[in-house]
């Protein structure tokens, strides 16, 4: 009786682990490689072609990602027509390398998960390219900018299309390189150069985690392909899988700016605004969520690693939200909000089969509204002579009507206003979180309230309240090439929720992430939704009282509470890094340098010193007097002869 109970309990807990078993690519899918190749070709032409491509480079750089988008769309429509079990397609391009037992092919995998990512990356990416034509119009290095953008998109596409972890790592590193080049695009500014370096170095820490995870996978399974690892993962020990999971999480933390590797994200705002939009919406920070979701066949069997993901995600979603409340820089405020929203996605991914689909759903809707708001922020900066301080804005809604309306759509989506895309996606994650763990769910709900607060603050400071800009500034609406992408993205921000209609996205993704019967949350779903909306309204109302009802000073007040000071200083993220990593690191290096100088150099210098001393003494034998040489020759001959005689006797 009791055994039977245990067995049923075990069967309940044990999820079905989906195995990646793709079919051979045919028809439209034989063009898969072109999706990556087109932007890569663009990057090559623009970066190698030099000034000869200055005149038309930006058009080429925009057309190629659009080409990738068209192919992605054709593939997507194609895959919709197939049976659910038949939606994984692989294309083998060539054998990449074969060393010892490691056999890595250049294989691409198209399945529902990569399908969603392809559409997001190429779709939103193309819109950002179009916008950049206008935004970077007066930059003398615009052609190079488009070359880097294309490289960024190509690397991200490689990341989501690869069928093995080594290929994913190639894209992963490419994304890191492209982000470095783009964050530091205005390299004449020391702050931009430093921000690029910071992003690169912190990303290296994460990359190390991913690299070690891949090594461990190879040692354990003897393969790094998704199909191989997913088929073998059930046979490995839980400890090993936990280690792989935690190392993958380290990688995801670096790329997705999760605590403790979050410090680079706010500094990355030094790059041109379209780059921020690209990093935050379509590429880069979503890679961590992709990695966790893609590796579901490992995380499902590694409960400790999964718990670690949830903890990291919960801390980050609150951390980012708190940062967002204190920033006066509109882009940094948005960056804090990205960190927080990625936290929600990681939370969804960490909650297991019930959450993967919602994590990806939120990732998609976030891609729409965050790209929309970043590009909107760029449009505002364009109007305000590149001033990013929201305390210098105010009352812009009449002067920038298109920007205002589109930004408002993004705003309503991110705070989760009922009916907008973010409402559906965030609500689902909170619901799953409440079902799995009450504390995490409550913290996620509080995070939603803080989101309502800081986004309302941003909205009010920028578009409402009294005007606070100087007389010399003449705000004006951006050209059509910039506003049209905004309008498209705003429409997507509003309508993105449609993907949840009839649970479509959950069913669509189930071949990749598995499917679990819906568990009942502690409260009815509608009650949870109402509570979340009320909490958000509370946050928004508080912001309204604080910023709309009172005058906003042009300078940030200095006499503020400790909490505000801490939030302004990124919750001392840099200071913590400094104490834990930078200072011990530099002390270690100093000690090593001393050891090198004293011990290693000492040994060599001491040895050579002795030889030098002997030589110094011996050179006095060379007197220059022929007769003394003759004497030594004679003496030598005598000694030789006497020795011979002595030996013979």
């Amino acid at each position: 009786m009791s055994t039977q109970l245990l067995l049923t309990a075990a069967a309940d807990v044990e999820h079905h682990i989906p195995v990646v078993a793709p079919a051979e690519a045919d028809g439209a899918f034989s063009l898969l490689w072109l999706i990556i190749a087109l932007p890569l070709l663009g990057a090559a032409i623009l970066l190698l072609g030099g000034k000869y491509t200055d005149k038309w480079g930006h058009y080429l750089g925009t057309a190629l990602p659009i080409g990738s988008f068209v192919i992605s769309l054709v593939c997507f429509i194609n895959v919709l027509g197939r049976d659910e079990g038949d939606r994984q397609v692989a294309q083998h391009l060539y054998d990449w390398f074969e060393v010892g037992g490691l056999d890595v092919g250049m294989d691409l995998l198209y399945d529902p998960l990569s399908a969603m990512f392809l559409l997001l990356i190429t779709g939103v990416g193309s819109l950002i390219h179009v916008y950049s034509i206008g935004y970077m119009a007066h930059d003398p290095r615009r052609r190079r900018f488009f070359g880097y953008l294309n490289l960024f998109v190509a690397a991200m596409l490689m990341l989501v299309l690869s069928e093995n972890y080594v290929g994913l790592f190639l894209g992963w590193e490419g994304v890191g390189l492209a982000s470095y080049l783009l964050i530091g695009f205005w390299q004449h500014k020391p702050s931009a150069a430093a921000a690029a370096k910071k992003a690169f170095v912190i990303n290296r820490v994460g990359d190390m985690g991913l690299g070690l995870a891949i090594f461990l996978m190879f040692v354990t399974f003897g393969t790094t392909s998704f199909s191989g690892v997913s088929a073998l993962s059930a046979g490995a020990s839980e400890t090993t899988l936990n280690w792989i999971g935690v190392l993958l999480l380290v990688g995801a933390c670096g790329k997705s700016a999760q605590v403790p590797l979050q410090a680079w994200l706010l500094d990355a705002m030094e790059g041109p605004t379209p780059v921020s939009a690209l990093i935050h919406a379509a590429t880069m920070v979503t890679a961590g969520v992709y990695l966790i979701t893609r590796s579901n066949f490992i995380f499902e069997l590694a409960p400790t690693a999964q718990t670690a993901v949830v903890v990291v995600a919960t801390v980050t979603l609150l951390w980012g939200a708190i940062l967002g409340c204190a920033k006066d820089d509109i882009k940094k405020g948005l960056a804090g909000s990205t960190m927080s929203q990625i936290g929600y996605m990681m939370l969804g991914a960490g909650l297991g089969v019930a959450g993967y689909a919602f994590a990806i759903f939120h990732l998609l809707t976030h891609g729409f509204f965050k790209a929309n708001m970043f590009l909107g922020a760029g449009s505002v900066m364009h109007a305000m002579d590149d001033d990013v301080n929201m305390r210098h804005y105010g009352g812009l809604q009449k002067l920038l009507p298109v920007t205002f309306l589109t930004f408002a759509m993004g705003y309503l989506a991110i705070i989760g206003f009922p009916g907008f895309s973010g409402f559906f996606s965030k609500d689902k994650i909170i619901e799953v979180a409440l079902t799995e763990n009450l504390l995490v769910g409550i913290l996620a709900t509080i995070g939603a309230g803080i989101t309502g607060f800081y986004m309302t603050r941003m909205m009010l400071l920028t578009f409402f309240t009294k005007k606070r800009w100087e007389d010399g500034v003449h705000p004006h609406e951006s050209p059509a090439v910039m506003t049209v992408p905004l309008i498209v993205l705003a429409a997507l921000s509003v309508l993105g929720g449609i993907m949840l209609a009839g649970n479509w996205i959950v069913d669509f993704l189930s071949p990749v992430v598995g499917h679990v019967e819906h568990e009942d949350p502690p409260l009815p779903a509608i009650v949870i939704t109402i509570i979340v909306v009320l909490v958000v309204a509370l946050g928004a109302g508080l912001a309204f009282l604080l910023f709309q009802k009172r005058d906003v000073p042009r300078e940030a007040p200095a006499d503020v509470s400790f909490a505000v000071k801490a939030a302004r200083a990124d919750l001392y993220g840099d200071a913590i890094n400094d104490v834990i990593v930078v200072r011990p690191g530099s002390e270690l290096v100093t000690a090593l340098v001393e050891t090198d100088r004293k011990v290693v150099d000492g040994t060599f210098m001491g040895g050579s010193g002795i030889v030098r001393g002997i030589g110094h003494g011996l050179r006095h034998v060379q007197t220059g007097y022929v007769r003394s040489y003759a004497l030594s020759v004679l003496g030598g001959a005598l000694i030789l002869v006497l020795t011979l005689v002595a030996v013979n006797l």
Binding site: R619, H620, Q622, T623, G624, Y625, V626, R627, A630, L631, L634
Partner: protein, 99 residues
């Protein structure tokens, strides 16, 4: 015929030559002392050749003479040059090549 007197004479001549090389400063005299040493060697060669009854030592003596002749040519030329530049044939004066 006893070998001993020849060897003793050869040794005496060699010793005189080497002492001359070590003690005299005049390059010509040093040179002559070197020749004396060579000839002392020749004497020993010839004496031993006679003793053993073959020609090996005598051939060696011829070789020494040929080398000595060549050496004289070069050595005298060098001494001439040194004398022309320094107005002296003292070997101790030509001591620039040192530490």
């Amino acid at each position: 015929m006893s070998l001993t007197p020849y060897i003793v004479l050869s040794a005496i001549l060699f010793t005189i030559g080497s002492i001359g090389v070590l003690t005299r400063r005049n390059a010509i005299v040093v040179f002559m002392c070197v020749e004396l040493m060579l000839n002392a060697c020749n004497l020993a060669f010839v004496a031993f050749a006679h003793q053993h009854g073959n020609l090996d030592g005598q051939v060696a003596a011829f070789f020494v003479m040929v080398v000595a002749a060549a050496e004289v040519v070069i050595g005298l030329a060098i001494i001439m040059t040194i004398f022309r530049t320094r107005r002296s044939a003292s070997v101790d004066d030509a001591s620039l090549l040192k530490f």
